[in-house]
């Protein structure tokens, strides 16, 4: 394999661990302001130059990061250039100050943020505590995908212009990490109709034009309060088809793209004009088995399904260089990950488990899925189906359009489900807490012991304690196997050589603020 071109960065679990240290330390801990973007000083202010064109692999549905689609990676990727959050996750997953220069946690249910006093919105107005309040309250009111993360927020108060206090009903261990997904918009305009067609924020870039189907054009904000961005102009373009996207990268029409399949990458690896970065990401695949149905009520049946798969062979044949074996119900760079013993390929053991469960001759099961949302999904499903067939489980895959698939999925109208998933906040709560709690009832699996652990894990701000609790949760979910978690995908970024300064992120939220072009 020609891996020389690929700079291979492995963050291991340190990314998630760092989040603890940098972020939510015990009460009254404060953070230094030195790493704020404005701290570089006036001596060597960078002059934004050149234009960079980025091909985005999925459409940016909206520039509103607060509403229904508030956990979409791609929305946050583009919006963070325009609007800023109180804290940001750096490339190793640590939380760093941004609009908040420091924060305190005087008691477990109170968070107090002190804002940068120099930050200004694009219209020149000052970023104040009431803007933070309005933005966070908007996330909660709109009841979008991010809102449940703030369900325990009791009140947001603004003691003075540069102080925001968030009171919670119970302690929320993920509050700080979740604030990295709440971009701050000016309170006076954020609820005005049409604001998000050309939003303003305090970010290093201003919107020039936006067309949901095509281009988002940004230009450097000359009055940016922090270190000026590297590029004068930044264009995000959506390519619905992958072949033209790859061609555009090869011809230099675009400078950067990500989320390419192994086939495309193989074709690009020998190209001297391109650079490929690959890091562990937060996207992974799972196969759920509906525990509330007779077929999969017995955990031995579910475990048998896991033992039936030769994961290493599928990785080698289908996902070389773009994925690795997953060893927990969440990917390895997520906070709260704890490695488990893999289900090694063992068809004999799988058959034995089926026999013990009273179905020695296997059975027939339906599987729902929506193709096209992750690389090689169809090929992987075909491979898995034949492995399951070998132990007597005849899986009938039913391909569905996205809207129809989601409806069936949410109504538990399935035996099995196959899909990619992402841990957008980088915290186990986002995935384990939302998907495996009995209250959520997303896959028919109910376990009061697990519920208790998940509840405790979110209601403590002691990050080491949270990690211990999630280690238990990982183990229970892995062993009881409401799902199979075979592969976690690397995030693979391809850029032309003229691009410098891109740092692969710990999540799938990308920043080009410090990127320059030659």
């Amino acid at each position: 394999m020609k891996t020389t071109r690929r700079r291979f960065l492995v963050y291991t679990g340190a990314g998630g661990l760092g989040l603890v240290v940098g972020a939510c330390a015990p009460a009254a801990q404060t953070t230094p302001a030195s790493s704020a973007p404005g701290a570089v000083g006036t001596a060597a202010r960078r002059v934004p130059t050149g234009e960079m064109k980025i091909a985005i692999p999925v459409k940016v549905p909206t520039l509103d990061p607060h509403g229904a689609q508030s956990v979409e990676d791609v929305t946050h990727s583009v919006v963070q250039h325009i609007m800023e959050t109180l804290v940001r996750r750096d490339a190793s997953g640590n939380l760093q100050p941004l609009l908040a220069k420091e924060w305190k946690n005087p008691d477990p249910t109170t968070w107090s943020f002190t804002l940068q006093t120099t930050a200004r919105f694009h219209d020149g107005s000052k970023v104040t505590s009431s803007d933070v309040k309005a933005s966070l309250e908007r996330v909660v009111t709109l009841k979008g995908a991010l809102a449940p993360q703030f369900a325990q927020v009791d009140a947001v108060t603004t003691p003075d212009e540069s102080t925001v206090q968030i009171k919670t009903k119970t302690p929320i261990g993920t509050l700080l990490a979740n604030m990295a997904l709440v971009p701050i918009a000016p309170a006076a305009q954020v609820n005005v109709a049409g604001f998000f067609n050309k939003p303003i924020g305090s970010g290093p870039y201003k919107v020039v034009s936006w067309n949901a189907d095509a281009d988002l054009k940004l230009e450097a904000n000359p009055d940016y309060w922090g270190e000026p961005p590297g590029l004068k102009s930044l264009v995000f373009r959506y390519y619905p088809e992958v072949a033209p996207r790859v061609t555009a990268l090869e011809t230099g029409e675009i400078d950067f793209t990500w989320r390419l399949g192994p086939d495309q990458l193989r074709g690009l690896q020998g190209n001297a004009d391109l650079k490929i970065d690959s890091v562990p990401g937060d996207i992974y695949y799972f196969i759920w088995m509906n525990s509330s149905r007779q077929l999969f009520a017995d955990k031995r049946v579910r475990q048998a399904m896991a033992y039936a798969l030769d994961v290493d062979k599928m990785l080698k044949d289908l996902l070389p260089g773009v994925a690795k074996r997953q060893t927990a119900p969440i990917p390895s760079n997520v906070f709260g990950y704890a490695a488990q013993t893999p289900y090694n390929y063992d068809p004999a053991k799988a058959k034995q488990l089926l026999a013990e469960a009273g179905v020695p001759n296997g059975f027939e099961a339906g599987l729902i899925w929506n193709p096209g949302s992750a690389p090689l999904d169809r090929e992987l499903l075909q491979a898995m189906t034949s492995y399951w067939n070998a132990i007597g489980v005849r899986v009938k895959a039913q391909e569905m359009e996205r809207a129809v698939w989601i409806q069936n999925l949410n109504q538990l109208n399935w035996d099995m489900d196959f899909q990619p998933n992402s841990v957008t906040t980088g915290d186990a709560d986002f995935t384990l807490g939302r998907l495996y709690h009995s209250r959520a009832n997303r896959n028919g699996y109910k376990n009061p012991d697990l519920d208790k652990i998940l509840d405790d894990a979110v209601a403590t701000v002691d990050q080491n304690r949270r990690k211990e609790l999630y280690a238990q949760a990982n183990k229970i979910i892995w062993t009881d196997a409401p799902g199979i978690f075979p592969f976690e995908l690397f995030s693979v970024f391809v850029s032309r050589k003229r691009v410098t300064g891109f740092v692969p992120p710990a999540s799938d939220i990308l920043s080009f603020v410090n990127v320059t072009v030659r």
Binding site: G144, N211, D213, D215, E241, A243, T251, A403, W405, N410
Partner: protein, 306 residues
């Protein structure tokens, strides 16, 4: 003339109403829910129903329908559920792109098919006729997406002459317009050829030749004018289709037109946007049909509209 136009326009309003009603019902009968699709696979049932309420989707169907008709009568097509912007604005943003693409594709099609059709008809039965017939058959049969990707591979990737996607400059227009035009060239060439073959054997053509007119004049003034009606009809239908149906080509070339807007709106169950886009496309069709019908009167004075 004026009463005729008035009658046609009145009828058009009913056609639009019918189209909206059918689309309104069909998109809601399709499985899948806008709120659920927007919130994604991991949203809770409470959040989904809250969003449904906020979007007004919890109202009884007749109420939603009545409200929509009243709005539409005032030319307010509501807000797109997913884009959050007014439907009229979302469509208006894409109309120029769709019109540019359609216009250039039509121009290419007309400019290529007339010379080819005439050459084939004049050289009837000769090698040139067979070559052109074969080419037009090919043009008609090659699938759009394949042709588009081939053109990208040749002109963007190998020759580096033209950009592969986007809509910035006139160069961006060339490949998608060509892709759309080629099948049309096939259809039109065959139509022009067979139309000409029919009229070239008519007595009045022989008379024109006998009068001593130049072949060129016979062709343009006597032959072509008399077989234009079916060509204009097909051209009109094709323009109507391109206004909303260039989806595949728009996707291949990352071209932000109305077709893709509609397809993604359907995928997301963005009801108001689907309805609005269909309204636009239907209006385009109706308008073009009226223009085509009016043109008959000019082409053939025996046809009296009024």
């Amino acid at each position: 003339m004026t009463p005729y136009l008035l009658r046609r326009l009145t009828l058009s309003v009913f056609v639009l109403w019918g189209a909206v009603t059918i689309v309104f019902a069909a998109i809601r009968l399709a499985p899948g829910d806008p709120a659920q699709t927007m919130l994604g696979a991991t949203a809770s049932a409470e959040d989904v129903s809250a969003l449904r309420a906020r979007l007004g989707l919890d109202q009884p169907m007749p109420v939603q329908y009545g409200r929509y008709l009243l709005q539409a009568a005032r030319l307010d097509l509501g807000d797109s559920l997913r884009l959050g912007q007014p439907v009229t604005a979302a469509i208006a943003e894409r109309i120029p792109q769709t019109v540019r693409l359609t216009a250039l594709a039509m121009a290419i099609a007309v400019l290529l098919s007339f010379p080819m059709g005439i050459a084939a008809a004049v050289g009837w039965g000769k090698p040139i006729d067979r070559a052109i017939s074969l080419l037009s058959l090919l043009g008609q049969s090659v699938p759009n997406f394949w042709l588009g990707i081939m053109l990208i591979l040749i002109f963007a990737r190998q020759l580096r002459l033209l950009p592969s996607g986007g809509a910035d400059t006139w160069q961006h227009l060339v490949l998608p317009a060509t892709t759309l035009a080629l099948p049309l060239v096939g259809i039109l060439t065959r139509l022009i050829r067979s139309g000409l073959l029919d009229v070239l054997h008519e007595d009045y053509i022989r008379t024109a030749h006998a009068k001593g007119l130049r072949s060129r004049t016979v062709m343009t003034r006597h032959a072509l004018v008399n077989m234009l009606i079916p060509v204009i009809t097909v051209l009109g239908l094709q323009v109507g289709q391109l206004l909303g149906g260039a989806v595949i080509v728009e996707s291949v070339f990352a071209w932000p037109g109305v077709g893709r807007l509609l397809i993604e709106a359907i995928g997301n169950r963005d009801y108001p946007l689907v309805q609005g886009a269909i309204l636009f496309i239907t209006s385009g069709f109706l308008l073009i049909n009226i223009v085509v019908d009016l043109s008959y009167g000019y082409l053939d004075p025996r046809i009296r509209i009024a």
